[in-house]
Amino acid sequence: MSQLIVPTMAELMAKGEKADVLFWVGCAGSFDDRAKKITKAFVKLLNKANVKFAVLGTEESCSGDPARRSGNEFLFQMQAMSNIEVMNAYEVQKVVTACPHCFNTLKNEYPELGGKYEVVHHTQLLKELLDDGKLTIEGGSFSGKKITFHDPCYLGRANDVYEAPRELIQKLDAELVEMKRCKAKGLCCGAGGAQMFKEPEKGNKDINIERTEDALEVKPNFIATGCPFCNTMMTDGVKNKEKEEDIQVLDIAEMIAQAQNL
C-alpha cells in the first residue's frame, strides 16, 4: 500500500502554499477505529485524483453538533467559534467532510457565527471529481452486486442530498436497490441528536435493528452508508441479526477505493 499523503493546513502555510479544499475529518473519522478506515479510503481517493487538500490535524476540534442537538448551546457555540477562528485564519474557502453531522453544522450553522465556506459531503466531492474526469470508478468486486443505500438524516432530509451517493453506487456497476423507506422517508439509524453517546430510552426495540430489518428485506450484498455513525449502527444491526457473513456495511468511499484495489 502506498503511503497516504495528508498535509496539514499549517504545513502548507509554512511552505507558502494553500489547499484547494479543507478535509474536515471529524471526531469519528479521527478517533473511531471503524471510521478511520473510511477516512483513509477517502484520502486514497483524494490522493489518486491529485486533489490539493489539507487537514487541520491537531487544530481541528469537535464541530459541536452533539452539543447543539442535545441542548448545550454554550458548548456548541464555543466549539463553533474557535473552529471558525482557526479556519478563517487559514482563509478556508471550501470544506469537504465524510460526516453528515459535521457537514450540516459547518454548512448551515457556522455562517451565522462568522464561518462562511462552501461545504460539501465527500460523496458530492467524489461525484464532482468523477464528472471532471479526475477520478474513474470501476466496478471491481462490486460489479453486479446488490447494494442498498441508507440515507443519513443529516445528509438527506436535513440537506436534500440524495443523488450524489446514489450516482456513485451506480457507477460501481452494481444494482442499487432501495429500501421501502428511503430518501426523504428514510428511517434514522438511531444515532442522531447525540443518541450515539447514550443508552436509548426504554422501548421495545433499538432503532438500528428496525432500520437493519428494512435493509435485510431487500436482500443486499452490501449496505452503503455515508456517515460514520450510521455505519456503526448498521454494522451493529447486521451483527445482531447474525448476517455479517452475507452483508457488509461499507462507506461509499470505501467501496470506490476497494473496487480499484487502492
Binding site: 478511520k36 491537531t58 442537538r69 441542548g71 448551546e73 457555540q77 442522531g192 441528536g193 432503532i207
Partner: protein, 434 residues
Amino acid sequence: MIQQIVFLVLLIGFSALFTVNIRQIKKNINLGKDVDRSSNSKARWKEMIRVALGQSKMVHRPIAGFLHILIYVGFVIINIEVIEIIIDGVFGTHRVLSFLGPVYGFLIGSFEILAALVLISCVFFLTRRNIMRIPRFWSKEMKGWPKTDANLILLFEIVLMFAFLLMNASDSLLVAMNSSYYTVEFSTPISQYFIPLIGHLSEVNLILIERASWWFHIIGILAFLNYLVVSKHLHIILAFPNTYYSNLESKGKFANMDSVTNEVKKMLDPNIDPFAITDDTTPERFGAKDVKDLSWIQLMNAYSCTECGRCTSECPANQTGKILSPRKVMMDVRDRVEVVGKGIKKEGEGFDDGKSLLDSISIEELWACTSCNACTEACPINIDPLSIIVDLRRYLVMEESAAPMELNNIFNNIENNGAPWQFSMSDRLNWKDE
C-alpha cells in the same frame, strides 16, 4: 320579517363570538417570543400555495390524502352555497343566485355531488378511526377528548351534508308541486334519491322540512365555526398562516441562540473585563421551560395541529416503543398555552400556577429524540415539533444541568479534548500513520 331578524341576530351573535374567541387565540399565540419570519415573502406564498392550498404533503399517503382533498374541495366549494344562504337569510329572498339561470342549476347539482363525496369520505374516515385499528389513532394521547373531537367533526360534517341534501330534495318536490314560494329549478343528481323518503308528504310538511334543513344547515355552520376554536379542526384556518411562516431553511439548521452568542463572545474575548460588564442582554432563561419561552410560531404550530399523527407514526423513537410522540408534544403545548392564556386573562400577567410545560412533557420523552426530522418532513402543514424538543432540552441542559449522565460526559470531553470521547487532541492525526 321575524325570520330575517332571527337570522341577523344569530349571524351577528355567532360571528361576534367567533371574533372574540379568535382574538383570544391570537393573544395566546402572541404570548410566545417574537421571531422574525417576514422575509422572503415570495417563497412563503409559494410554500403556502403548494402545501396548504395545494395539499402537496397530504397525498404522501394516497388514500387518506385523496379523501381529505375531497372533503377539503367539497367544504370550500359548498361554502359558495353559504353565501347564498346568508343573502337569503338577511333579505328574505329564496335562492337569490338563481338569476344565474342554467348555471345555477348546474352549480347546485355539482354541490350535491361534492356533498355526496364528502359524505362518503367522512363515513370512511369514521370507519378508519373507530373500526380499523390504525395505531396512530389509538395511541395514548388520543384517548378521551381528542378522540371525541375527531368523531364529532366527522359527524358534524355528515349531518351538515345531509341537511343540505334534504333541503334540496324537499325544495325540488315543492317546485314540482308548483308551490307558490318554490319556483327555482335546479338539478338534483343526489338529492333525488331522498325523494322516496319524503315524496309522500304534504306541501306543508315539505315546507317544514325544507325550512328546518335550511335553518339547520346555516346554524350548523355557524356553530361549527365556533366549535373550531376548541377543536383540533382549527387547522382549516391556521394551516395557511402556519405554512406561510414555516421554516424555509435546511431542516438541519437549528436556530441560533443570539443570547448565547453574546455570552460566548464575552467569554472568548480576552479584552473584556468580566466584572465590568453590566449585563442587561442576558435573557431571563436559556431554552424553554414553559410556553412563554417558546416562539409565537411554535405556539401557532400547536394551535394548527390537527392531531393526524403522521409525525408520530414516522418517528423512529415512537416506532420502537419509546414514549416520545411528536404529536403529543404539540398537543401538550396547546393545552398548556390554553391554561396559561386563561390564567393571564383571570389573574393578569403575573399568572403562575407553579406548573410548566415540563409537567406534561417528560424528560424521558425529550431525550428519546434523534433529531432526525422525520416528524417535520411528515407534517402535512409544516409543523416543527423538533424545534420545541430542542428548546426544552436547552432549558434542561443550560438551566437545570439535567442532561443524562452520558451526555454530561461527552460535554466534558468536548470541552477538554475537543471530541466526544476521551482522546487527546494531540492524537487527532494519528490515523494517517496507523
